[in-house]
Point group: C2
Chain length 201, copies 2
Amino acid sequence: MTMSLWPDVKPEAARRLMHAAVQSFAAVGFHATTTRDIATAAGMSPAALYVHFPSKTALLFEISRSGHEQTLALVQDLATGDGTPTDKMRALVESFVAWHAREHTVARVVQYELDALPESEYLVVTGLRRRIEQAVRTLIAEGVRTGEFQVPDEKTAARAVLSLGIDVARWYTERARKTPRALGREYATLVLRMLGNSTID
Amino acid sequence: MTMSLWPDVKPEAARRLMHAAVQSFAAVGFHATTTRDIATAAGMSPAALYVHFPSKTALLFEISRSGHEQTLALVQDLATGDGTPTDKMRALVESFVAWHAREHTVARVVQYELDALPESEYLVVTGLRRRIEQAVRTLIAEGVRTGEFQVPDEKTAARAVLSLGIDVARWYTERARKTPRALGREYATLVLRMLGNSTID
DNA sequence: TCCTTTCCTAAGCGCCCGCTTAGCATGAGG
DNA sequence: CCTCATGCTAAGCGGGCGCTTAGGAAAGGA
C-alpha cells in the first residue's frame, strides 16, 4: 500500500522513517508520538532518526508538504481540463474522496496535524491549501456561469465540497463496507445535487 | 460566551478549569496541553487541578461527554418532533451547523480529541455518537418513505450530513464572514438539495 | 473558643521527552 | 593498503511532564 508513496526519497531508511511516522501520527497524533516510537518502528535506534531528519517537526513537514502537493496536483489536473463543469466536478470529487479513503492514514496527518508545524512551514502548507480551495471555487464559478450549477455562495459551496472529502479521512477505515472508488462515486452524486446541478444524473 | 457552558458544575473553580482546558485542548490539542497550562490559565497552582479532577483525561472526558450529550439532545429533539422530514431536517442542520460554528472551541475538542480518551470513557462517547448518527439516519429514512428524499444509500447520506456540520468546527473562526445562524441556514439548503429534496425550496 | 470541612499551595518525585555527542562498521576510490 | 564519507548505535543531557504529598488559610457550626 504505502510502498509506492514517496518513491524518490533518497535513502531507503529515510522512507522507512516517513512510513513509520505517518502511521503513528495518524494513529495517535503528532504530539503523542515519540521519536523513539518512530525509530523503533522503522527498525533503528532513536538517534538514527537525526541522521535523516533534523527534527521531528521536519518529518511532519515532509509528510504534510508532499501530501498537500499531491492533492493540489490532483485537484488542479481535474478542475482545469476540458469538459463540462459537471463532468469535471464529478471526476474531481470521485478522485478527491477516493484518495481520502484509500490513503486515509496519510490524509489524516495532512488534514489534521498541520497545526503542529512551526510558523514558516505552516505558511507553506496553508499556501498550498489556499490554491486547492481556489481551484474548486473557480470550477464552481465556471459551472454557475454556464448555468449548470446554482449556489447561494460560491465560497461556502467550495468549503462544503472540500469538507465532505476531508472528513472522510476522519472516519474511513479499512473495514468500511464501501471501496474508496465506490464511495467517491456516491459522494460525487451527492455533491452535484448539492451544487444544484441541472443536468440530472 | 462560555459563561453559560456547564452552568451546574459545582465549585466555580472546577468550571474555570474546564473553560481553560477546553480553550487549550482546542488550540493545540490534548497531548500538547500541560496540566500546568490549564491550572495557570484558571488562576491556580498546578496542584489545584487535582482537587477537582482526578486526572487530565478526566477533564477531557467531562468536556467530551457533556458536549456529546448536548449535541445528542439537540439532534434528537429536532429529528423526532412532528412536521415533515424536510422541515425537521432543515431545522436540524441549521442548529447542528450553527452549534459547530458558535461553539467551535468546544466542538473541536468534542469531534477531534476523543481518541485521547482511555478505553472505557471512549466507549461511553462512541455510544453517544452512534445514537446521534442513528437519529439522523432515521430522519432520512422517514423522508425517503414519504418520497421527499431520494438517496443512493441512507447510511452514507447520514454520514455526509454529519460530516458537513462536524467539519465546520475545523475551519470556522470568529472572524468568519458569516454568522453561525446564517451559515446554518445556507448549509441546510445545501443538505436538502443533496438529499434529493423534491419540494423545491 | 476550638474543631472540621473545603479549597488551595509549595515542593518535589520519578519518568520520559527531543535531541546531542562520540565513536564504530562498512565499502568505494585512489 | 590506507582514506574517508556514509549510516548507524550506545549513552546520556537537560528539561518538562503528570501527579503526589504534606500542610496551611479561611469560614461556618457547636
